[in-house]
Point group: C2
Chain length 454, copies 2
């Protein structure tokens, strides 16, 4: 173990710009469409919800976007994040592979989410906005946005899916500790929420309903905007600090990854780590396999269709071409709440269609098995989402054990599981159920896709 | 903000030895006494519970003890820990003071506890021990020992106070995730537990009962030892990596603290940070005020007596001369569970008697107010224990604001509060009650101290 356990960067080595993968792709992704006109949306269509700086980033084709100094200052509270060499996991597996993990759990919210929450809050504050609204499921994104708003003096109002609100009181308290206001959704504060409550007074809520409530409040109040934690181009753009740092960290030890594995829900953590490496691959400077890992119960990339669909369940967003299981698909209540999304970032989808990345799916018990093994060797209890990446990492490392290959594997460890321990309790008690989505279930789920002429 | 936010050390700068403050004190502390004979205890008295390496460290007078290579390798999973400059807290307070905090929440258990859990597990494993037993209250120590045992292939068995076991299921799950076995105390697994249950079938338990159970199992099984997370000399010795790193980190920015504030329960986090600085002070190389902060409802240093007392409630341990409120004192159920100890480390007590450190007390609402302010500025939700240090830090920084002094303040931030969010919920809901222990209550509490001839 003479090689370092942690590869650290100094604050002076923090990336100064985000990377826009669009600049290097052989073709652009299909345009986002207005659901009424089926014409490409323009900046003005998005102006009621987002500040112009973010809208311009959403459609930018420049290779790099400078990170504002005020954002860098807040990033320094936890960035650059460490790149770890998993000496102890390697030893436990008996693999000749070199396993590395880029750990985003050091952030205030405990995940990669603040990487975009901070610039989103910054640009909104700079545009004179006073309040941000958003939805949250398990609560990672709501926590990140509440923290980011506290840094720029913005109010933050979060609609959390009622079922999670009731089941995960710690997330609610953490959001309040950062100064955010949180409502269970459906709420009686919006027309959308009241309509649901009128029909279903005991509704457990859904991400789709919570989005509708947050968007409604933002659209109706000029001093209020809306913020989204994944899927969109500007969100993935902000997350590329992860991959840029990792490249610099590998350079310090004279290595480069042969395989990258990361979990995909909406795609922001995966894209953030993978895109800078994809740039290196496209330029012929690296030969790296990039592999997305998704839950077998919500396999948008591996079993979904590539088609125009709504980003939300209620069908209020623009239409995006992406890998989807259908916008009214309700995934199993698996514990990796951040991966329970019917669709996939259009950018990730496009890159997958281009054959630039691979995708596999994993069932949750295999994932938690990898998570527990990781905790007992490396000392970090991972969030349920990155246990998917860890399961794929273990699989690759054991493959190397068979072949004798000394591959360098890079794993995206996008957050800790301190607020997800109930999931580990269920796994350790043997209470978890696996469900691999069948072709029949997929066919049924995608039947309701909106009709868009080719 | 051109000065760095985080001052990091490379792994190669990890301290290679622990510091023993005994070597530099003007007089030794009074001996620990056998409760039956009232004679000083010898190594053989401790051999049924501890391996000889730790017993020798407990009585060592050498200035330094080398850290074994296998311990350093595990330390590298999170050490050196970062020293932060609290730019944003300073700005929010409008103080000319420079505030720094040494953050131990980056460890696997989320606190400073693994600094000693790891070497304790290592020395026990090296001595051929197969299992460690311990007690835990809120759960920080049990988590740390379970993690440490997982690193050296030891079984770990934890007796957790029944009230905490029922109220804090996440801690139980985290201990199990690290491979530990956890029992609510009182349990029917020990004579001590069965005796309590016979008299009080619904007993909520206490730290004293849990210690009795863990000690009983260790004493009766040759392959099993017992481990303690604070109070003892060897525990504080292991924690000095905190202060040694901080000294090296301050040297990197050409500064030294004028004031150090840290919370004290059993004293291990405070001693770990403060003792290396005390060495510098005693040698005339630094002029630093060192201030212990304790809860107003459990003020052993500021209101207790300096006398021989038992370390546990049941009166089974050797007698230690320390600041105590009496071994049968039951502190209010404040949320800083780690500070609810009737006594104080004999080393800290001795140093306090020598006039080398100061002590103050704080009520819990002032502490949580400081904790919330810290979260909203610095992004870290502190554990309830270090909010005591933060309250004293804020007080000192506001004093500097009045006087215009640009003091350098160093705060011990010994852990995060991710598993203590219920306490923040109670604070934010206005449900917390303050209780400053009165002189009458103290007098009543210390009336039952054991009689030891001077």
């Amino acid at each position: 173990m003479n090689e370092p356990t942690k590869i650290l960067l100094d604050e002076s080595e923090l990336p100064r710009r985000w990377y826009n993968v669009l600049a290097d792709l052989p073709s652009p992704p299909p345009p986002v469409l207005h659901p009424g006109t089926l014409q490409p949306v323009g900046p003005d269509d998005l102006a009621p919800l987002f500040p112009m700086d973010l809208i311009l980033q959403e459609v930018a084709t420049d290779r790099y976007v400078d990170i504002p100094a005020d954002v860098l200052d807040v990033y320094k509270l936890w960035r650059p994040s460490p790149l770890y060499r998993a000496h102890r996991l390697e030893k436990a597996l008996g693999t000749p592979a070199k396993i590395f993990y880029k750990y985003e759990g050091v952030s205030p919210a405990g995940s990669h989410k603040p990487n975009t929450a901070v610039p989103q809050a910054y640009y909104n504050a700079a545009a004179g906005i006073r309040r941000l609204t958003t939805e949250t499921g398990a609560g990672q994104w709501g926590t990140a946005l509440a923290f980011a708003c506290s840094q720029y003096g913005l109010d933050c109002e979060v609609w959390q899916v009622r079922a999670s609100y009731d089941q995960k009181p710690y997330r609610k308290i953490m959001i309040e500790t950062f100064g955010g206001v949180i409502h269970p959704s459906p709420s009686d504060l919006t027309a959308a929420g009241r309509a649901v409550l009128a029909a279903h007074p005991d509704s457990p809520g859904s991400l789709g309903i919570a989005i509708s409530e947050a968007v409604e409040v933002a659209a109706q109040n000029p001093d209020t905007n809306y913020a989204l934690g994944s899927v969109l181009n500007h969100v993935l753009l902000h997350q590329t600090v992860i991959g840029e740092e990792a490249i610099a960290q590998f350079a310090k030890v004279g290595l480069a990854p042969d395989v990258i594995v990361g979990c995909t829900g909406g795609g922001s953590n995966f894209g953030g780590l993978a895109f800078p490496f994809l740039r290196e691959k496209l330029a012929g400077r690296m030969d790296v396999t990039i592999r997305a890992v998704e839950p077998a119960s919500c396999p948008s990339l591996t079993k979904g269709v590539y088609a125009y669909d709504f980003g939300d369940t209620a069908g209020m967003t623009p239409l995006m071409k992406m890998h989807t299981l259908g916008h009214d698909f309700i995934p199993d209540p698996i514990h990796a709440g951040g991966l329970r999304y019917h669709g996939m970032s259009p950018l990730i989808s496009h890159v997958y269609e281009l054959g630039l990345i691979e995708a596999v799916s994993k069932t949750q018990r295999e994932c938690f098995e990898a998570g527990v093994r990781f905790a007992r060797t490396e000392g970090i209890v991972p969030a349920p989402e990155p246990t998917h990446a860890l399961a794929a990492c273990v699989e690759e490392a054991l493959r190397c054990k068979e072949t004798g290959e000394e591959k360098v594997i890079l794993t995206a460890l996008c957050g800790h599981g301190h607020l997800d321990l109930a999931a580990y309790g269920a796994y350790l008690a043997g209470d978890l159920v696996d469900h691999e989505l069948s072709e029949t279930e997929v066919a049924s789920a995608v039947a309701a896709l909106p009709k868009v002429p080719a």
